[in-house]
Subunit: 67 residues, 6 copies
Amino acid sequence: MPYVNIKVTDEQVTKEQKAALIKGATQLLVDVLNKNPATTFVVIDEVNTDNWGVGGEVVTELRKKQA
Amino acid sequence: MPYVNIKVTDEQVTKEQKAALIKGATQLLVDVLNKNPATTFVVIDEVNTDNWGVGGEVVTELRKKQA
Amino acid sequence: MPYVNIKVTDEQVTKEQKAALIKGATQLLVDVLNKNPATTFVVIDEVNTDNWGVGGEVVTELRKKQA
Amino acid sequence: MPYVNIKVTDEQVTKEQKAALIKGATQLLVDVLNKNPATTFVVIDEVNTDNWGVGGEVVTELRKKQA
Amino acid sequence: MPYVNIKVTDEQVTKEQKAALIKGATQLLVDVLNKNPATTFVVIDEVNTDNWGVGGEVVTELRKKQA
Amino acid sequence: MPYVNIKVTDEQVTKEQKAALIKGATQLLVDVLNKNPATTFVVIDEVNTDNWGVGGEVVTELRKKQA
């Protein structure tokens, strides 16, 4: 009965990508730990780039520098 | 000083239902562990059905099959 | 398919109390939101009092003052 | 490689305040534990006041009483 | 810069299995969202079976019934 | 009523360092958002280096390479 929480920045993640994350994370638990997929939960949190920081800097600003 | 986090799918949970979850979860900690309600926090996260998976499938799709 | 996480300090919570928290939290989701208990998860985290702070103070120290 | 999650109510937190929280939390880990800021993550969750409870009451209602 | 949290019951998960979960979850984010693995974190929480409930029952008890 | 969760690897964090993290995180919320410290919680999770991965590698292995 694993629970997987995936946090990513909310940069246009599509429904298909979310479905792929859910399918892939569930399969990972089946493959590695032989868990029952029926009781495996995956929850994806999309976080605004204003609300995520790395190295003390807001990701929104980091993205501007990378552009 | 307990902290309770309740994650549910965002399927039209009303203000009254949220208030009932908060009241009920707080009372549970009082009843079972004799905790002080004044320092008991409850946080409810409503998760889009596109972002929640069970059994490797997206809940949005599961709901269509159930309908 | 709710997920409930309960964080409490690790002050001798018994197996019976944990079972009561799990049962009560699951029932709360059934009562308020008509959720299916079979796909309701409850996870209890017991946190050392050295690792929990309120009002800027470590709970271990707060407990000494209360004693 | 610390991970810091800050949950606050969504009461008009500005971009500047978010940047200050990210900078301050990262610096705290550097100062106290000598962590590398480059691999320190900070994620801020803004929670609707309807979804946060203290003392068994919804924060939205507590705010009305305080007003 | 994704963050992945995997919660499983603490039933003799080996170091090799943990390494496989970390490698697999990181690769999933690379494959699906083209994320940079260098800034992808994976944290595994092993939860005592006394502290995990499904369907209102403690997993410790569920395991006895399955045995 | 903020809630702050700090996850770090369990590499001999002292009581004094934990107290400093709790004090500093609480003060940060007071300084930036004018929050009431009395209802600010800080919870520190110490994660085994076998259970934390960065860049697809287990931190235990990364530490050996750094040594």
